[in-house]
């Protein structure tokens, strides 16, 4: 039976494998060198290094990293011309405007693809892995997709909202921020939410999906009245805009309290409901600790309640909760090691960061993630990605196995036959160079066991499998030369256990 203890893990218990578990979860894994460095810091400094990353230098994100003008609305003369064309039913002119718009959309789609590979590259290179991992969590939680928005720059801005507030204040930075986020406003049609024709979409999803959870502490009336508080909240020129003439400033009754509430008030009132702390902790738990595919056990519920209490007492600051979680004995309990099925993005990024394969072709990696079910900036709905076992089916399994082969060998099954002679050679020997520091031995047996433990979150690799693979290595000369290593890694990454973190 696992422990529910939120007590800090003891320094002497914080070994190499626990450090690896921490880095896999609070980041995208790392090399033996990375893990050793974390272990040597001891648990508190290691956790702080990861989640309190302000002092870690990283490449800044600038507003002009991408083009903010692609979707500039028509102005002045052009607007007049378009208006005239419509009034006159001038088919030819309208046709030209249509073509112009189509070209605009094509350019914007290209920029969206660039932003996607840009983010993947950040995740691969970042010295602040927890920041990017949290940004990924928020992207799946406050999920908005490119398709109805059709504005890549707005999604870039939203992505930066998640990055810069990754471990900030859940209420003040993230929830207050998301109701003023142009991409979310457009995605949930809040720009059409006016006092004369209210639109409930944002109000509903705000409570159902972003804060309280479906049906937990609110009713249909609260949605209707909540929608009224958000009237006039729109955007213009890539920025939030409040149009008071569209705002319904009448009396609204929400959660039984009456007043001339606006959107800010609405959020404040939501956070007085009990499930405001509970719901987000459930999601954090699933993402960072355990998929819990069969629902939460009593033990897990107890841990989540403790997390929720911490979140509330810290007035919605995320760092204290996460710090407590990543330092707890519960987090390192063997029930929770290997309990999360890697998301497609985690699978790819972790392989690169831990095995140090070459990055190879980013658009191809992006496409592979999409084929595996996780196209970033294109979540299937405002519910985000369900994750867990939903990542795995007959099709995605082969794609997962084969994309790892691609990373290891550079061989692309693409449109031609699987041809020999890959591109960038991958030097995998760095993985076994550290064997001295850890196992103190260099025999084939220890090497196979070490690699299995390094790549699979299992304490004791199966004896039969070890024997089989040792035999394979011995048949090839009994040494871990690079080709043999890569072939063993091929088997390792094809194993069911490699899908787990």
């Amino acid at each position: 039976m696992g422990t529910t203890s939120m007590k800090k893990v003891k320094d002497r218990d914080f070994n190499y494998w626990k450090a690896q578990h921490l880095l896999n979860r609070a980041g995208f894994g790392g090399t033996p060198g990375n893990i050793l460095a974390l272990r040597n810091m001891g648990p508190e400094d290691a956790v702080d290094y990861l989640i309190d990353y302000r002092d870690v230098e990283t490449e800044a994100v600038l507003p002009n990293d991408f083009d903010s003008n692609i979707n500039k609305p028509r102005e002045g003369n052009e607007r007049q011309r378009y208006k005239r064309a419509r009034e006159q039913g001038n088919e030819k002119a309208l046709e030209d405007f249509r073509k112009q718009r189509q070209e605009q959309q094509r350019i914007d789609r290209r920029q969206m693809a660039n932003i996607e590979t840009w983010w993947l590259e950040r995740m691969i290179e970042t010295p602040r892995p927890f920041q990017e991992k949290m940004a990924l969590f928020w992207h799946g939680h406050f999920a908005a997709a490119y398709r109805p928005i059709e504005d890549s720059y707005l999604l870039f801005l939203q992505n930066q909202l998640f990055r810069s507030n990754a471990v900030g204040n859940f209420k003040d930075d993230l929830v207050h921020g998301i109701i003023r986020d142009p991409a979310m406003i457009k995605y949930l049609n809040n720009n059409q939410n006016n006092k004369n024709s209210p639109n409930e979409n944002l109000a509903r999803e705000l409570m159902e999906l972003f804060t309280l959870g479906e049906g937990r502490g609110y009713g249909e009336q609260d949605i209707k009245q909540g929608a009224r508080t958000l009237t006039g909240y729109t955007y213009n020129d890539n920025e939030f805009q409040y149009l008071s003439q569209n705002h319904d400033d009448g009396l609204k009754s929400i959660f039984g309290k009456s007043g001339r509430w606006d959107g800010h008030d609405f959020v404040e009132m939501i956070f007085t409901r009990p499930s405001a702390s509970q719901f987000i902790c459930e999601k954090l738990y699933r993402f960072y600790v355990n998929d819990s595919p069969n629902g939460f056990t009593k033990e897990q519920q107890s841990v989540i309640r403790k997390m929720a209490a911490k979140l509330k007492s810290s007035k919605w600051e995320l760092k204290p909760v996460l710090r407590q979680l990543f330092l707890s004995e519960h987090f390192y309990d063997e029930d929770n090691v290997g309990a999360v099925i890697k998301s497609p993005v985690q699978l790819v990024i972790q392989a690169i960061r831990s095995l140090r394969t070459p990055t190879r072709n980013l658009p191809k990696l992006n496409e592979a993630c999409a084929l595996m079910g996780q196209s970033i900036f294109h979540p299937p709905s405002v519910k985000g990605w369900e994750g867990g076992r939903k990542w795995i089916n007959t099709s995605t399994l082969f794609i997962r196995q084969n994309i790892l082969l691609y990373l290891l060998t550079g061989r692309d099954e693409g449109s031609r036959a699987w041809d020999r002679g890959g591109s960038t050679e991958y030097d995998a020997t760095h993985l076994v160079n550290h064997l001295q520091d850890i196992e103190g031995s260099n025999t084939v047996q220890d090497g196979v066991v070490y690699l299995l433990r390094f790549a699979h979150p299992v304490a004791a690799p199966d004896g039969r499998r070890v024997d089989e693979w040792v035999e394979y290595v011995n048949n090839r000369g009994g040494r871990f030369d690079n080709t043999t290593l890569i072939n063993i890694l091929a088997l390792i990454t094809a194993s069911p256990e490699y899908q787990l973190s």
């Binding site: 088919e91 046709e95 398709r147 109805p148 998929d291 595919p293 069969n294 290997g338 309990a339 099925i341 999409a370 084929l371 299937p380 709905s381 076992r389 795995i392 089916n393 007959t394 099709s395 995605t396 399994l397 082969f398 196995q401 084969n402 082969l405 060998t409 061989r411 099954e413 699987w418 299992v458 004791a460 199966d462 039969r464 499998r465 089989e468 693979w469 394979y472 048949n475 890569i486 072939n487 091929a490 088997l491 094809a494 194993s495 069911p496 256990e497 899908q499 787990l500």
Partner: protein
């Protein structure tokens, strides 16, 4: 009540009497035009699902991506507006040269594009039916949105797939890994459900682990990868590791089955084209009696904004010849009673040609059905060629009516749950 009996199918009587299309539109009794639209019935009306539908029925979906030009595929040569608005692009009436429309037995005023010889053969032998004027209200002329609408059967287009929902409804919680197979890099939205995920692959050789290409000696260890139990593992256990091992085993079995099936030579000769290759694989899997109930294949390239004539002719030739070869293969297998094929596109194209020798995104278009069980002939009401919506055809039947008919009458499923609403069926399938 009588409306249910006076279905659009009675249209055929008028066509056989030799009236031209133009005059038909003018004289059609109003009530036929009204029932021609798939009207949504209020929830609660009676619908009977067929009990005891054989388990081996197969449904094949052929998607023509880009917006196939319906007017040049199923040619309304009886319409003067057609020739007025497409002076360069219109297909001539039958008998007017080699590039003229193909006549259909027993049908007046409507013919096929000359490249659709394969389809004509199927039509003439009674193995195919064409439904005219298929679309939906407030048509969306964006490729992605309209395709999503056809895939999800939801005009908000924000849902999962209609076939995915069919699988979810019929799998009773235990998904069959091979219930739906799509040929292509990614399974279409139409096939994606909540519980059930479709299998998809571009080429069967890719539907496997490629590691053995590195070293054949990796095959034995790879084979036992999923079989090695971990410490303390029990069968049917619900741990993550057990789940992954089960799925890995399933994947291997599916992969072996599919690749073995596809390696068998077909009973007829297929043309060498993209669509033919896909349908050849489907026929092979049907012949190998995979437990698959829905197959999905795709051909893109129909977005003919410029220089349409040659391009469209080549595409339609590929379609017609592929469909014919596929049906012949299925017939040679003796499976013609089991396999229903539907061919659709996400919208048709505008009535008038544009300035680049092509056509732009439009709305309603025909949907095609092939199989022994299909009511043969040309069905439905041709959209008016004079009363247009901003230059586009107005649909005369909702596509969800056709989905409902396939679901109820062929798949034996409750369409109202799957389509999230009740759609009146039409006698597409012979009973």
């Amino acid at each position: 009540m009588d409306d249910h009996n006076t279905t659009p199918w009675s249209r055929r009587l008028f066509l056989q009497q030799g009236a031209t299309l133009a005059s038909l539109v003018a004289t059609t009794p109003l009530f036929i035009e009204q029932t021609a639209r798939g009207m949504m019935l209020p929830l609660g009306s009676l619908v009977t699902s067929q009990a005891g539908v054989p388990e081996d029925r197969v449904f094949v979906v052929v998607q023509l991506g880009g917006g196939n030009d319906g007017l040049n595929s199923v040619v309304p040569y009886g319409s003067s507006e057609y020739y007025n608005l497409r002076s360069g692009l219109a297909i001539q009436a039958p008998g007017r040269g080699d590039d003229a429309a193909l006549e259909l037995d027993g049908v007046q005023g409507i013919g096929l594009h000359p490249s659709l010889r394969g389809l004509k053969e199927l039509m003439d032998e009674g193995s195919a039916g064409i439904v005219q004027g298929v679309g939906y209200p407030n048509p969306n002329r964006s490729h992605f949105s309209s395709m999503d609408i056809w895939h999800s059967a939801d005009t908000d287009g924000k849902s999962d797939g209609w076939l995915g929902r069919y699988f979810d409804n019929t799998c009773n919680g235990t998904p069959n890994p091979e219930a739906g197979i799509a040929i292509g890099r990614q399974a279409p939205l139409a096939m994606q459900g909540h519980t059930q995920m479709p299998v998809s692959f571009e080429r069967s050789e890719l539907f496997r682990w490629m590691g053995t290409d590195l070293d054949q000696n990796l095959e034995p260890p790879y084979e036992t990868i999923a079989k090695t139990p971990h410490a303390g593992m029990v069968p049917e256990e619900n741990s993550q590791a057990a789940f992954l091992k089960r799925t890995t085993l399933d994947a291997r079995i599916s992969s072996d089955r599919v690749r073995k099936a596809v390696a068998v030579s077909p009973l007829v000769t297929y043309p060498n084209s993209n669509l033919s290759n896909q349908l050849r694989m489907v026929a092979a899997m049907i012949r190998a009696e995979l437990r698959t109930r829905v197959y999905y294949v795709t051909l893109s390239g129909f977005d003919t904004h410029a220089n349409q004539a040659g391009q469209h002719a080549r595409l339609l030739e590929q379609v017609g010849d592929a469909l014919l070869a596929f049906q012949r293969d299925i017939q040679a297998q003796g499976n013609q009673g089991r396999v229903l094929t539907m061919v659709f596109s996400e919208f048709g194209r505008r009535v008038a040609q544009n300035g680049s020798g092509g056509t732009d995104h439009g709305t309603a278009a025909p949907t095609y059905f092939i199989g022994d069980m299909v009511q043969p002939g040309v069905h439905g009401t041709h959209p008016s060629m004079s009363k247009l919506d901003q230059g586009d055809l107005i649909h005369t039947i909702d596509f969800r009516t056709l989905y409902a008919s396939v679901l109820e009458d062929w798949m034996g499923a409750d369409s109202s749950e799957i389509l999230k609403g009740r759609w009146k069926t039409v006698p597409l399938i012979k009973t």
